[in-house]
């Protein structure tokens, strides 16, 4: 096995596969995460808005439908439907995949954000409203800054899960050079030349581990910074 690993590492073609996959995995994750965070944030705020606001009735139903569907079905199924049916446009495949991961992640993120907002004492909203601030002003200036501390660990968890979820992007077909050629796809491609899945698997696994480790480090850093102004 070690010989195979060395064989892979000494072949510039194989190494370029891994590097390309590494880059694409990170890119797909970043764009999906950005979309997911944006969607999750909007959905959470809509869901948490007071029930008596008639303008919020339809958005609330839409958001409930969204989280039910995207949390209730496997992401692989969503990927196939989005890539081969909804966005069956030539050349759009990688973007359709990123959109799918983003939308899927948004459904989970929205629940994390909602939980974080709900964990802030009800009295904070009342205090803000009692002074004459609007619901949105109170939300933005008072509730969200406090909620974010509770949200970050859950979001970090979700981002790590997202990174690994993107490993199925190759299932819709990937060739080197396309954004869909991620780490997992690189491993399969290497296997075709050097038929030892353990060797390529370990190498690619180490890459994933490296990214996750960096993410954990980053999340902890943010948590620490946010805690700074508590006293």
């Amino acid at each position: 096995m070690f010989q195979d690993i060395i064989k892979i590492l000494s072949s510039s073609e194989m190494v370029s596969y891994i590097l390309e996959g590494f880059l694409h995995s990170i890119l797909v994750t970043i764009f999906a995460a950005l979309l997911g965070l944006f969607l999750g944030f909007v959905v959470a705020v809509v869901k948490i808005a007071p029930n008596n606001n008639k303008w919020m009735k339809v958005p609330k139903i839409v958001c409930d439908f969204y989280t039910t569907i995207f949390r209730g079905t496997p992401v692989a199924l969503q990927l196939f439907i989005m890539v081969f049916a909804v966005f069956a446009i030539p050349g759009f495949k990688p973007y359709a995949a990123i959109i799918t991961f983003g939308i899927n992640s948004g459904a989970y993120v929205s629940e994390s954000i909602r939980a974080g907002i709900m964990s802030v004492d009800q009295g904070q909203m009342e205090a803000g409203r009692a002074m004459g601030l609007t619901w949105l002003q109170t939300m933005i200036r008072i509730i969200l800054p406090q909620a974010i501390k509770n949200i970050i660990p859950a979001i970090g968890n979700e981002m790590i899960a997202l990174l690994k979820e993107t490993s199925i992007i190759g299932w819709v077909g990937s060739t080197p050079g396309s954004l869909t050629f991620d780490l997992n796809a690189a491993a399969s491609t290497i296997y075709r030349t050097i038929p030892n899945y353990l060797a390529s698997g370990i190498l690619v696994g180490c890459c994933y581990l490296l990214v996750v480790y960096a993410m954990v480090f980053f999340i902890k850093y943010i948590e620490k910074r946010l805690k700074r102004n508590e006293r």
Binding site: G123, A127, G132, T134, I142, E230
Partner: protein, 299 residues
């Protein structure tokens, strides 16, 4: 009765009702609050004191009744009663007692209901639109302080005045420092609330409400969450505020405060005001049986 009886009341509450689902918490509260009044509201827990207070700044939307602020009608809902009457009449149908007289009565009520409905709905819309302006005129102090833990003391105080464009940032800072100086906490301006004692927190919560320059201050059991030795410092701030002429409605269990600082004391029980008097007579000659019982337990 108030010393300022000659002028119109600042706040008029008429037949105020509030129910949470099937639970009726307020069952017809009537009260006039005059400018400069310090009203202590006492009563057993669960009698609706806090709900009454929260209905005044619409943190709870009342179910029925009337509220006037500065002689301006801001809340009115009478149609709830009419609706109930109509329902009762319709219930007669089941018992086959729905005769012509009942029908006539029903039609009459229904007519009044329809004419009321439009006006009251319009007023409700107006209220929802103006609710934040209304709240700016009414300061509120909570039992649990509800300071914003992520902001410094100074920011806690200046956030609302600046955000609501009542003052510029400099003006708000100046005003906040002046108020903090008054309560002797100017050295705490730049610390976070977590480092303060309960008494300090509540004093700052009072200052935060004052920074909006409200016309009335509502206190919802301001000393109930405090250590006994910190109650005094908060009551002192409130007493000073009363001396300056601030109109205050204070839900409290501090009988000493009610006796010495308030000019009117209200006893609430079972969702209505059972007794209202000046503090001297209120404590010396209570008339209501429940009040006598209550006082014997707390004094």
């Amino acid at each position: 009765m108030s010393v300022n009886e000659m002028q119109n009341p600042l706040l008029q509450v008429k037949n105020l009702h509030k129910s949470f689902g099937k639970l009726d918490v307020l069952k017809g509260v009537n009260s006039d609050i005059y400018k400069g009044d310090v009203v202590a509201v006492i009563g057993p827990s669960g009698c609706g004191k806090s709900t009454f207070l929260r209905c005044l700044n619409f943190l709870e939307m009342p179910s029925a009744g009337e509220i006037l602020f500065n002689d301006q009608l801001i809340y009115k809902n009478e149609r709830v009663y009419l609706k109930r009457q109509m329902k009762e009449l319709l219930a007669l149908k089941k018992e086959q007692k729905f005769d012509e007289a009942a029908q006539a009565q029903y039609n009459e009520i229904n007519e009044r209901y329809t004419s009321l409905r439009k006006d009251e709905k319009a007023l409700e819309k107006e209220l929802l639109k103006g609710i934040n302006t209304h709240r700016q005129k009414i300061g509120m102090v909570f039992q649990q302080f509800n300071l914003f833990p992520h902001l410094t003391v100074l920011k806690n105080i200046t956030l609302a005045p600046v955000k609501l464009k009542k003052m510029t940032e400099e003006q708000a800072n100046e005003k906040a420092m002046e108020l903090l100086k008054k309560i002797g906490l100017e050295d705490k301006a730049n610390v976070y609330p977590a480092t303060l004692s309960g008494g300090q927190k509540q004093r700052i919560a009072i200052v935060r409400a004052l920074a909006m320059e409200p016309e009335v201050m509502l206190f919802d059991e301001p000393t109930s969450a405090l250590d006994p030795e910190m109650v005094g410092e908060v009551l002192k701030v409130m007493t000073e505020l009363a001396k300056e002429g601030m109109t205050m409605i204070v839900v409290t269990h501090e009988m000493g405060f009610a006796k010495e600082v308030a000019n009117r004391v209200i006893f609430m029980n079972d969702g209505v005001i059972k007794e209202e008097n000046n503090p001297k007579d209120f404590f010396a000659n209570p008339k209501d049986e429940r009040l006598k019982d209550f006082l014997s337990k707390v004094l």
